[in-house]
Amino acid sequence: MSKFEFPKSIASRPVWGTLEPRQGEHHLMIADAEGAEAVLDIATPDLMAKTHLIYIPKGTDYVERLQALNPAQFYEGPSYEAALQRIRRVLEDAHMGLQVYLTGTEGMMGQAMNEVMTVGLPHTAIQTEHRGSAARRMQCVHCKGITEDVEVDPFVCSHCGLNLFVRDHYSRRLAAYQGVRVDAEDHGNLPEPKGIYE
């Protein structure tokens, strides 16, 4: 099962929705890993015939099933960063009426949402659904470096090496949660790392 129930949290924490097919002549779906399941759930031949599907497998094996949906365009990218050029180009050429669907990890959805907002679509117009890993994209508030796919709390910043506490405080602009040094006052005094939602 790829669905995960996030515990209730502060207002800054994103709340993801459930995808539903919408009216429209053009649809853009961006999915990574288990996000494929949300696409499979809403796919109809009619919808997929108008859909450009951008998919980042992240080691999963959904590609064949997605291709079998016969989307109008299908792109498989090795990473979000590699897919970004295409995402930007698609948004640049798109017209109003385009329906945007994002599904998969929080890190991918947050970054893609940022791209869509940059071209002027309000975030309220973008559909999202979380699937798969609940790992987070974290920004170190000290060095500003981003560490992707963080699963434990505290964790070590992949840039400056500080031990960071995983906060629910989220930045839509950075598409990242904030990581704050956990042993600032007593260096080396660290709680035992555990899963973020444990």
Binding site: E25, A94, H95, M96, L121, P122
Partner: protein, 320 residues
């Protein structure tokens, strides 16, 4: 005291534009600067018309960055309740008047990559200020302006002169109609559409955009409703412990104010939501005319917008 803060002004220019529209310029009596505003804002003009105080909202059309004066354009409505006739017939150069601080219920969404303006008739006025704002910000905009005929197309000359590539005119008497469906379809992602004009035009644009998959938050509209006359009715104001009579030609809000009860308001046109009033009891039917309450709220009969809505029936009790 309800409503936005007040400013004392003097009428320093009256310019008839065509057979229906006249422009008024206001400057502060004390010679100071007027507040800046954002394109799309309106001011509520107080008119002392005999025994009646009229409070009508008008869009500010001057540059939002010009603090020396405000201008408004008033279209004469011979069938209206008298506010526009008062402006046209009674207001003279040098008159002192009271206007409200600017209030904006129709502002630009500056997240937009492009602003598409659709104006019908006198609905052009808020766009004049928005265009001045966007020109200074180097914004990307386009105007489609529909009028009855060339003679009534206020500011069309000036717009085509200054912005020939952005301005598109349509005249009803020449059977020219905005090709809305294709216009909306061709817009780049991140376009916001703004419509100001008659109700039919607003509904047309909202429905066409929605059917074409435009997000609600990208469709902006402004329609000031003038309160419509209706059958007189009685209302009990529970908090003030008064029973008041609402006449045929006055709004419920005006009747409440006439009785000296201070009620909140801003736009007086059914758009802003400020005058929302709780209904404690009723026996009869509401005539809801506002853009504020949802259809469910209107059906529930627990709230009323006294600026434009009325009541027909035996008894109405308000929490005011």
């Amino acid at each position: 005291m309800s409503g936005a803060e007040k400013i004392q002004v003097k009428v320093t220019e009256i310019t008839p534009l065509n057979e229906l529209v006249t422009r008024f310029r206001f400057e502060r009596i004390d010679g100071g600067h007027l507040p800046t505003f954002s394109g799309g804002a309106h001011t509520v003009v107080e008119m002392q018309d005999g025994g009646i105080t009229r409070l009508n909202p008008y869009s500010l059309m001057s540059s939002p960055f010009d603090q020396s004066s405000y201008t408004i354009s008033v279209r004469r409505d011979d069938q209206g309740r008298g506010g526009s006739l008062f402006m046209h017939q009674q207001v003279k150069l040098g008159d002192e008047m009271t206007i409200s601080y600017p209030v904006n219920l129709f502002s630009l969404d500056l997240r937009a990559r492009k602003h598409l303006f659709l104006a019908g008739g006198i609905g052009i006025t808020p766009f004049l200020a928005q265009i001045k704002q966007l020109e200074l910000l180097h914004g990307h905009w386009e105007l489609h302006y529909a009028c009855r005929n060339e003679g009534l197309a206020s500011y069309a000359d000036q717009l085509t002169d200054r912005h020939p590539n952005e301005t598109h005119l349509y005249y009803d008497d020449q059977d020219q109609v905005i090709d809305l469906k294709n216009l909306l379809r061709g817009q780049p992602l991140g376009t916001h559409v703004y419509v100001c004009g008659p109700k039919g035009m607003i509904d047309w644009v909202r429905n066409t955009a929605s059917a074409d998959g435009w997000p609600e938050d990208c469709v902006h509209y402004e329609e000031f409703l003038a309160p419509q006359p209706g059958k007189p009715f009685e209302v009990r104001l529970a908090k003030s412990d008064k029973v008041i009579h609402v006449g045929e030609n006055e709004s419920l809000l005006e009747a409440i104010e006439r009785e000296g009860v201070d009620a909140p308001y801003l736009c007086r046109g059914g758009a802003c939501g400020q005058c929302e009033t709780v209904v404690l009891d009723h026996d009869g039917n509401f005539v809801h005319r506002d853009h504020w309450l949802t259809d469910e709220e209107k059906a529930a009969g627990k709230k009323i917008m006294p600026c434009v809505s009325r009541f027909e029936g035996k008894a109405l009790v308000l929490d005011r």
